[in-house]
Each structure stands twice: as C-alpha cells, then as structure tokens.
C-alpha cells in the first residue's frame, strides 16, 4: 500500500533528525533529574539515603516536562511536512505518483507519529523504567504509568494533527513554523490565563470554605474541551487523579460538575480526527 511507503519514508527521514534526538535525550535527563530532586527533598530530615522520587511523583514531573516539550517535538516534526515540501517541490513529485492525497496525508501522519511515539517511549518510558527500578512504588504504580503513557500518546497525536493542519494551511516553511508557534502559544500559554480572566469576569465563586457552593459559567466545561492541553489534564485527573494540573485544579475549585471521562475521551479523539480531516480538506483542495 502506498501510504505505508510514505509512512516508512517519513519515519526514516525524521528519526535521524538531530534536534528530535537531542530533545528526546533532554526529555529523559530532565525527568530523571527532576525525580532525583523531588526524591532528595522528600528525604530531607530523615535518615534514609536520597533516592529517586516514587513513580507517582515522577509522573507528575513527567506531566510537567512533557507538557512543555511534547508539543514542541510535534511542531518540529510536523510544521514543514506539507508546507516545506510544497515549497521545495518534493510534494509535487510525490503527488505525481500513483497515490492519492489521502494516502499521502495518512502516511505522513503515521510516519511522524511513529517518531513522536518513539520519543515519548524513550524519553518518558525510559526514565519511568529507571525510576521503577530504583525507587519505591505503590501497587498501582505500573497501572498509573501505563495510563499516563497511553493518554500522553493520544495527546501527542492531537498536537501532531493540529500541526499538520497548520502545515496544510500555509504555503511556505517560514509561515508554517510561525503559525505552529502561534497555535502552541494560544493553546499552551494564553488559554489558561484567558480562561481564568473570563471565569472571573463572569462572576465565578471559588469553593474556598467547607460547605460553600462553587459556581462557574456553564461554558467553562466547553472551554476545557476546546483545548487539547486542557483535555489532556482532565483525562489525567479523571484516570489517575491528583494530576489535574493548574486547569484541572481551577476547575475543581469552581466547577460543580466536570465533564465525564467518556466526554474527555471523545474530545481527545476529536482533537486527533478533526484537525487531520481539516488538513486533508486543505491539502486536497490546494494547488501544490
């Protein structure tokens, strides 16, 4: 099948990208160093020797490090895949082969996702295995780790899909990277303060005292589903607990009922499928 050839080519071409390799190594080192720092703080005042933090504490660290680095890896992989190849001319040559644009896009997504998943499994999975082997862990540690990796893999797929949409929209590599960074800036940096601002402006009350009733505008749940990072945080909170991140903590404080796990799962699936469908529509209807 032609899409598998495209997927193999994408994987082969990008898995050797020095920047991706470097960020994956940074990923692994950062998680281990953070785990060691958290472990050292935990052992302050006790006679026990300093060790790595437990896997649950390390997952929180991985959530923080991954939350910053994974979208960047997805952006680096995806921003030029259509716009850059369109600009250089290699996309035209590929389209002139006996292959449909849907097959090309699917192949690119699968090939790039394989690289991204490899970075996650080496960076997060590798560091988690080291922690598991060297730190105390709860009986649920392995389940939590697997759940965390599965949700993170899905979230990475959503970011890759979003990046392909941006790459399909722009004609040139330069504008595609600017567009990708703008998407990242809005979703990962601006969204949370904007949400807080809007919630406060809408007169939300925080349940700060026992028995007090929190209140929040009804659209807050919808807003949470409109950002892949918020969906990721929500899914982690629902499935592992205590890892909701800032958005989740904010929501817990002000929202009487959050979206269900099933809603978060559907939202995450939509974050993978909808941008990819949009990328296909743009790719299929634009000149190359």
């Amino acid at each position: 099948m032609s899409w598998t050839a495209v997927a193999k080519k994408e994987f082969l071409e990008n898995v050797r990208n020095y920047w991706i390799i470097a960020i994956t190594v940074v990923f692994l080192v950062l998680v281990l160093v953070s785990s060691a720092v958290v472990g050292a703080f935990s052992s302050v005042g006790s006679n026990a020797p300093a060790r790595l933090a437990s896997i649950d504490a390390t997952i929180t660290t991985m959530r923080f490090v991954g939350g910053f680095l994974l979208p960047i890896i997805a952006l680096m992989l995806g921003f030029g895949t259509l716009a850059g190849e369109r600009e250089s001319g290699s996309l035209g040559l590929l389209i002139a082969q006996p292959v449909t644009r849907a097959q090309i896009l699917l192949g690119k997504f699968v090939g790039l996702y394989a690289v991204l998943a490899s970075a996650i499994l080496v960076g997060l999975g590798g560091s988690a295995l080291i922690v598991l082997a060297n730190a105390p862990s709860s009986p649920n540690a392995m389940n939590h780790l697997i759940l965390f990796l599965v949700i993170t893999l899905a979230w990475a797929g959503a970011w890759l899909s979003l990046t392909l949409l941006v790459s399909a929209y722009f004609q040139r590599r330069g504008t595609a990277i600017a567009g990708s960074l703008l998407a990242w800036f809005i979703m990962s940096i601006v969204w949370l303060p904007l949400t807080i601002l809007l919630v406060v402006a809408a007169g939300a009350r925080v349940a700060s005292a026992p028995g007090a009733r929190p209140s929040a505008p009804s659209w807050l749940n919808v807003m949470e589903l409109l950002n892949p990072d918020a969906v990721y945080g929500g899914l982690l909170a629902k499935s592992i607990g205590g890892l909701a991140g800032v958005v989740g903590q904010l929501l817990e404080a002000v929202v009487p009922s959050q979206p269900s796990t099933a809603t978060f799962v559907v939202a995450m699936a939509a974050w993978i499928v909808v941008p990819l469908a949009g990328a296909y529509w743009l790719f299929a209807n634009k000149d190359v």
């Binding site: 032609s2 071409e13 250089s88 001319g89 035209g92 040559l93």
Partner: protein, 306 residues
C-alpha cells in the same frame, strides 16, 4: 478528445493574470511532443495541471481518459514525471530515495537499483541526496521518472543541469524509450534538442497554445522560407541582382563564389537556371530549411500560423 494526454479549454489564473488561457492540446500515443515557449508562457503551469498538481479554473485534463484530480492513482500509474524544480529528501541516500519511489509505484525495490545504474549513479547510490550536485540530482529525478518503464513520460526541462555528455545520454535514452513505445511530452529551452527529438511541437505564448504541429508543417504554415546556397563559377554581383529580381525571392547575397538566396524551396531549380542565364555556372547547390529557432522566434514575436 482522443489522445493519450489531452487538455481541453484549460484555463488557470494567478492573481488576476491568465497564466494558461484556453489551452487545448493533444499528445498521441507513441509520439514525442516538444513543448516550447518563452519564460512565463505557461508551459510549466500546463504540465502541472496535466499532472494534477494545480486545479484548472476551467477546462478538462485527461490522462488516458482519466481525470488526474478525480483519480490520481489511476491517471499516474504507468506515468513518469520529472518536474522543473527538483527536490528530494536530503537525509535519504539516492538508493533509499529511489526505493521509496519504487514502493509508491508498486514496483519491486530492485527496480531502484536498476534505475540508479541506468543513470550512472550506481556507485554514488549510498551517498545522501543532500550531498549530490545539481546534475546528480537531475539524474535521480530522471531515474525515478523512468523507473518501471512507464507508458507515458512527462518531463519538464529534462536536461537542465546536465553536462554535454549526460545531455546526449538522456537524448539517446528518450529516443530508445520512444522506440519501445513510450509516449513523451517534454518542455525545453534547447531548441536543437526539441528539433532533434520531437515528432510534433506545441508552442505557448502568453498562456495560449499558438501552434501545434510538426516542425516542417509549422515552417510552412508560418511561411518561413529556407536558404538556398549555390557555389557559382564566374560569380559576379550582376548575377545576385538578377536573382533578386525573381518573384518569390526575398534576398540574394554574394560572398566570394557563394550565392545565398532566401526563397521558397520550390524555386531552387528556377534560381539555378537564372544564375546560368546570367553567365554563372552552378557547381553545387544546398538548401537550408528554416530552423525550429526561426519558427520559435517568429511565433514568440507575435507571428501567426496559417
């Protein structure tokens, strides 16, 4: 539409400028079709629409009766394409690149090695394409187009960036493929190359296909005259003057014993007779037809075909 590659009423506009304006062309099975025109005439845009890379604003494209936008896989199977601007995946080697294209075309990977050898890159096949010279990259491009013995070849400036030796090899290769039944459409700025290779030519000017025929037919339809060169014993200026007076003769110029006469080819025996009548003796007579370059220049400057 009956050709193997056809367009009908093709129109493409970029930012209000008609890059391609109502182009109807037809390439017949088994022929070599040369596509000519000054820079910006619309050749590449037409080829891009033929390949389904650009969507026409109006008109139709058919490759073996198939619309390449509606059924790209069907239209492109058994078709080799070489774009004007070539770019490959810089981290892959030449061999990996061609194996990728072999796989996309549904060919066994051994075809990639054969294609590398065909274009003289067998030894450099494991070097990264990013390290190739422009000529080597062009060879990889040709190799991917020729791989799998396609029924149709669409080549946009196939000899661009090649040295004279490689240039000749490519021409021989294309002739050989055509003898084996491959239909070829190619654009080129090298008019001698087009004249040598093409059975028919299409000439674009300002987005329009202003002529489409064999070179001989175009010469005649444009009304371009050939040059008759006579070697004359006892040549004198008066002979040139007498010849110049003949109806159908545009000019007669004497240089030493060589008399050059621009006239219809059919007049050559009348001219020789007039030279003899004027006191000269014709020792030798050669005719030089108007070249494709003459045709090109005439059409590019606004000349019309009859």
């Amino acid at each position: 539409m009956t050709g193997i590659l056809e367009t009908e009423g093709l129109v493409k506009t970029y930012r209000g400028v008609r890059a391609v304006d109502n182009v109807t062309l037809s390439v017949q099975k088994g022929e070599i079709y040369g596509f000519l025109g000054p820079n910006g005439a619309g050749k590449t845009t037409t080829l891009r629409m033929l390949m389904g890379l650009a969507r026409p604003d109006a008109g139709q494209v058919r490759v073996r009766g198939v619309d390449p936008l509606a059924d790209p896989a069907g239209a492109h199977s058994g078709l080799g394409f070489l774009p004007e601007t070539l770019s490959f995946y810089k981290t892959l080697s030449g061999r990996q690149t061609l194996r990728f294209f072999a796989e996309v075309k549904g060919l066994p990977r051994e075809r990639a090695d054969e294609a590398l050898a065909l274009v003289g890159l067998a030894e450099a096949g494991d070097k990264r394409v990013g390290e190739y010279s422009r000529g080597m990259t062009q060879r990889v491009g040709l190799a991917q187009a020729l791989m799998g013995d396609p029924e149709i070849l669409v080549l946009d400036e196939p000899t661009g960036g090649l040295d004279p030796l490689a240039h000749r090899q490519v021409k021989d290769l294309l002739r050989d493929r055509n003898r084996k039944g491959t239909t070829i459409i190619f654009s080129s700025h090298i008019l001698t190359e087009v004249q040598e290779l093409a059975n028919r030519v299409g000439m674009m000017r300002k987005g329009q296909l202003v002529a489409q025929d064999t070179v001989d037919a175009l010469r005649s339809r444009i009304g371009l005259k050939g040059t008759l060169v006579l070697t004359v014993q006892n040549a004198s200026p008066s002979i040139a003057v007498e010849v110049q007076k003949m109806p159908g003769v545009d000019s007669a110029t004497l240089q030493g014993d060589r008399l050059s006469v621009v006239c219809d080819a059919a007049l050559r025996f009348d001219v020789a007779k007039r030279v003899e009548e004027s006191g000269g003796r014709v020792l030798n007579m050669e005719t030089k037809d108007a070249s494709l370059e003459d045709v090109f220049v005439t059409l590019a400057q606004g000349g019309a075909v009859r």
